[in-house]
């Protein structure tokens, strides 16, 4: 018993020594982080980034869900592109040049199925179904992202209890799932005997590797979570805004020195086939609530990063499997669509609008959809190159092709 105790004490001393060296290493080579926010269900881009110059035709197509032009939020550098009234947090960040909005992002021959479409966004492969995700392939490249990355830290963290395909690497999913950092379960690994080759054997090997990795990462997350204590006052109370709750956890881990490169979180509820807006006030309703949560969460998160001095190290991005139909339906909602805007947030961005307003024809019918201007893989490529400094030779294989680069970042 005595021996065991003293070994434990030595181990914990080693661990805290480990953190100190990580933090000092980190200040020389800042660890760049990407935070992804999946807008789950298909975000209605036309009511998020609102093209004022298209109003006459928009009214004809989707009068029952249109936002009143007097209520939209203006952007400092545009008279024709505006934001949904619920997004004042994002608008303020935009006017502070910490937000870039890329209009009409999509791809050729878009799929209108949630599941096929999200597979395309996650794998970056529109033609064939492949087994890996773009971030999984990126993280598999390992060496290129080693500025400060300790192999003891999870390469990617996904908030929640499931892992999505964008993190799927060649041999395993690169993400660690966490729901909360306040409780800690001391995961023990069971006695393991290497099995025979077989389906059963493969499953056992997977289980053993998964549990032992989870265990080591849980310890690291616990350590990092205990470092950062004070956070921004802009976060709403717990449970009021699940996205804000999750971004708060992410900020805490970043502040605590965790060297994780990718964080993924999501906001559900964007599949607004019906009741997208309140029938009596189109600036309110389900979509407005979601955008308000999104905007508040992003604003609090950015504030928190500033307080920690980490605002230059973190880039955020929203994405969705598709936008929604130009023409609304009779349920005060809209059906699945195609191209939609992506919003990026972070202090190292140049900021501003990329791409033009979509053009809405005069007589839109039910099956008409928005054509894309920017391929989503251009956004991926630009982040891989401009943010993570992935060498040019590695980019095409990560995003499954060559796509034009966007000029997103300050030097």
């Amino acid at each position: 018993m005595k021996n065991t105790m003293s070994v434990s004490i030595v181990s914990s001393l080693l661990l805290s020594g480990g953190i100190k060296s990580l933090l000092s290493r980190q200040s020389k080579h800042p660890n760049r982080v990407l935070v992804l926010i999946q807008l789950d269900g298909g975000n209605d881009g036309l009511n998020t980034v609102i093209p004022l110059d298209q109003y006459p035709n928009l009214i004809k197509a989707r009068q029952n869900i249109m936002i009143n032009e007097k209520k939209v939020l203006s952007l400092y550098d545009s008279s024709i592109t505006t934001l949904h009234p619920a997004m004042s947090g994002v608008r303020d960040l935009y006017n502070n040049k910490s937000v870039s909005i890329i209009q009409n992002v999509g791809y050729k021959n878009p799929d209108l199925s949630h599941f096929k479409a999200i597979d395309i966004w996650h794998s970056a492969s529109a033609a064939d179904t492949i087994s890996t995700g773009w971030l999984g392939r990126f993280l598999d490249k390992g060496q290129n992202i080693h500025d400060g990355l300790s192999s003891a830290d999870p390469p990617a963290i996904q908030m929640g209890s499931s892992l999505t395909k964008n993190l799927q690497g060649e041999s395993m999913n690169m993400g660690m799932a966490i729901k909360t950092i306040d409780s800690f379960y001391d995961l023990q690994t069971a006695k393991y005997e290497p099995p025979l080759p077989s389906r059963l054997g493969d499953q056992l090997s997977f289980l053993q590797a998964s549990v032992s990795e989870s265990r080591k990462y849980l310890y690291r997350v616990k350590e990092a979570a205990s470092v950062q204590q004070n956070q921004s006052k802009l976060y709403p109370p717990p449970n009021d805004n699940p996205l804000a709750d999750q971004l708060k956890i992410i900020a805490r881990l970043i502040g605590g020195g965790l060297q994780t490169k990718i964080y993924i979180t999501s906001l559900k509820g964007f599949d607004t086939h019906s009741s997208q807006v309140d029938p009596y006030d189109s600036s309110k309703g389900v979509h407005a609530d979601l955008l308000s949560k999104l905007s508040t969460a992003i604003a609090a998160f950015q504030d928190d990063l500033h307080l920690m001095g980490k605002q230059e190290d973190v880039l955020g991005m929203t994405y969705s499997e598709f936008g929604r139909r130009i023409k609304s339906n009779s349920s005060y909602g809209s059906d699945h669509g195609t191209a939609a805007p992506i919003m990026l947030f972070g202090s190292k961005l140049k900021g501003g609008l990329i791409g033009k307003n979509p053009e809405i024809a005069s007589g839109v019918n039910f099956l008409d959809n928005l054509p894309f201007q920017t391929d989503f893989r251009s956004v991926y490529s630009s982040i891989l190159k401009g943010w993570f400094h992935l060498p040019d030779t590695e980019i095409a294989s990560t995003v499954m092709g060559e796509f034009p680069q966007l000029d997103l970042f300050k030097s």
Binding site: T4, V7, S8, S11, L112, S113, H114, F115, S131, D140, G142, S151, A152, G160, S161, S162, L163, Q168, G169, E170, S171, M172, N173, G175, A177, I178, K179, Y185, L187, Q188, T189, A190, K191, Y192, P197, S198, R199, L200, D202, Q203, L204, S205, L207, A209, S210, V211, S212, E213, S214, K216, Y217, H273, S274, S328, N329, S330, S331, D335, F366, L367
Partner: protein, 578 residues
């Protein structure tokens, strides 16, 4: 048998020694090198009826895949039957269960429609149906009652496929309780998939699509001829019927045409039964694509408008892809996640023919699949990771949780706790993540490996921990029976006094894997820590207890050892498989 000193054994059990070893190991290991890649082990066996040896391992394989937590008595019953008679028993549909009750009205809350202790599923609406806080609270209570009731169906299942197939249909044609809002509508969906779970797929399809729950969930009751809502028309084809495999060719125009056929199928506003309203139906002709033979469904007015849906279902089901899509789902559910070319040719194709030849009756297909050489192929034994319901409900059923409630309040409270644990572990009936069901059944390449990650494994293990000890969560009416009854479970094993037998027989019920000698002796040592010292032997302790069951001290000794044993055993990797 290995001798392990008690101090070392205690270190291992409490994790101290393991901790120290792991600390040193994890620093050296590189993350990406640890995983074995999933090898594509192909199997050539097909649908020919299995005629091989019918022993312990094959019997338990069948029971593991068809029941949630086969018990010792299940094993005893089935071991006396041959494969065909076993299938006969498994393919029996259980009678319709009695419906969920108002167990929530005991403590200050009054259901405006029915008194405490009665069912709410058939009550009439006596209010004016305002969508307000009161309705919200009422439906919240009833929805919980519905979820708890479903969990009790899982726990108390008969030894047949009814519950497993009900859950299968719930995954294949998913709906989410929170987005149905009204508990009566949710019940209509939940009861329809149970009623037809071993019946006819085409009939089930019609009943499910037109259930008030599904019509509300997929926004159909707000769809109008002027601006049809595509939700149901799309998901019905993409997920429930044809799928999105290579041979699936329905188009966006088909989605629109289907949505138009479905107009008029609504629920009485704002809550109510399903209903066909001719005035809400688009009575124009609907043209479908070449995939559906360019069929034109003639528009009909009045109540004849309903017939368009029958005609459309006939049209959709005339494509072989419907049968293939269902058979692939059944394969993933019962056998293995990956479907390679061999499986597609040897199993899926002929199985889809069987479904079509039997007019979409499900039992002939299940009989063929579950009685086949392929199903019993050694490669498929232990090839699946248990889903959270298999894992948690399986153990709950084996260890008799919530099986003898004293009153409905205690019973429903216990079920509420269980349903929360299932939710934590990401699989509670009524709460799939979206309309496509659970990702483990369709997201490649990981499939059922998606059940296991750093969060979900913690949820599984902490659920086991709390069920092994007396659950200390706040329960309004403390129900002392809410934990695993490890004594009764152990007593029912064939030879519980002998540690080797106890371990072997219990592991047989938990796992498809034959443990190695090293693992077995480790487990036996938990029961009998020091072989030399006879006074601590398991056999002595067990016999002492069984000869004097009233003696608290003797009971405490065996309980202590059994707790340690099951705490370790249930978390073995091997027990995550089935």
């Amino acid at each position: 048998m290995e001798k392990i000193p008690r101090s070392v054994f205690l270190d291992i059990i409490t994790g101290r020694a393991a901790l120290d070893r792991e600390e040193n190991e994890y620093r050296k290991t590189d993350v990406s090198g640890q995983r074995a890649s999933k090898r594509e082990e192909s199997i050539s066996s097909g649908l020919a009826p299995y005629k091989g040896a019918w022993g312990q391992d094959k019997i338990m394989h069948l029971l593991r895949r068809t029941l949630f937590g086969a018990t010792q008595s299940d094993y005893t019953i089935f071991s006396k039957l041959d494969l065909n008679k076993s299938l006969d028993l498994l393919l029996c549909q259980s009678p319709d269960p009695s419906p969920p009750l108002n167990a929530y009205g005991h403590d200050g809350y009054t259901d405006p429609d029915i008194p405490y202790g009665q069912t709410w599923v058939t009550c009439d609406y006596v209010r004016d149906g305002q969508l307000d806080k009161e309705e919200g609270l009422l439906n919240y209570n009833r929805m919980q009652s519905l979820t708890q009731w479903w969990v009790s169906r899982l726990l108390c299942q008969d030894s047949n496929l009814t519950e497993k197939m009900t859950l299968f249909w719930h995954n294949h044609m998913s709906a989410e309780f929170p987005f149905i809002f009204d508990a009566k509508k949710a019940y209509s969906y939940a009861s329809v998939i149970r009623l037809h779970s071993l019946g006819n797929f085409k009939k089930l399809f019609f009943e499910t699509v037109t259930s008030s729950g599904m019509l509300f969930y997929l926004s159909n009751d707000q769809s109008t001829p002027e601006a049809p809502n595509e939700n149901l028309g799309r998901e019905m084809q993409e997920l429930f019927a044809v799928g999105k495999g290579k041979a699936s060719g329905y188009t966006q125009d088909d989605v629109m045409a289907a949505s138009r056929v479905l107009t008029g199928w609504i629920t009485m506003h704002p809550y109510g039964e399903q209903h066909f309203a001719p005035e809400r139906h688009d009575a124009g002709d609907k043209t479908f694509s070449a995939f559906y033979g360019n069929k034109v469904i003639k528009g009909r007015t009045g109540q004849e408008g309903r017939e368009e849906l029958d005609e459309m279902i006939d049209m959709i089901f005339a494509t072989k892809e419907v049968s293939r899509h269902l058979c692939r789902s059944l394969y993933r559910w019962f056998i293995y996640s990956k479907i390679d070319f061999n499986t597609e040719d040897n199993i899926i194709e002929p199985l889809s023919d069987i479904l079509i030849d039997n007019n979409y009756e499900i039992t002939p297909v299940l009989r063929a699949l579950l009685g086949s050489e392929h199903f019993f192929d050694n490669m498929n034994i232990g090839s699946q990771i248990k889903n959270p319901i298999d894992y948690l409900i399986g153990f709950c059923r084996q260890f008799r949780v919530a099986s003898a409630p004293s009153d409905i309040v205690s019973e429903y409270q216990a079920l509420e706790i269980l349903s929360r644990k299932l939710n934590e572990a990401s699989m509670c009936p009524g709460y799939p993540p979206n309309v496509a069901g659970w990702p483990a059944y369709y997201v490649s390449p990981a499939y059922d490996q998606l059940w296991i990650n750093s969060d979900s494994i913690v949820s599984r293990y902490s659920a086991i921990d709390s069920l092994l000890q007396n659950d200390k969560l706040v329960v309004k009416h403390p129900y002392t029976g809410f934990q695993f009854d490890i004594l009764t479970f152990t007593s029912e094993l064939p030879e519980p006094s002998k540690p080797e037998q106890l371990v072997a027989d219990s592991i047989l019920l938990f796992s498809p894997v034959r443990l190695r000698p090293g693992q077995l002796s480790f487990l036996q040592n938990i029961l009998s820590p020091e072989e030399e010292d006879d006074s601590l032997s398991w056999t002595k302790a067990w016999n002492a207890y069984t000869n004097d069951k009233g003696n608290a001290e003797k009971k405490a000794i065996v309980m202590d050892r059994l707790q340690n044993y099951y705490t370790y055993a249930l978390k073995l990797y091997e027990c995550q498989l089935m």
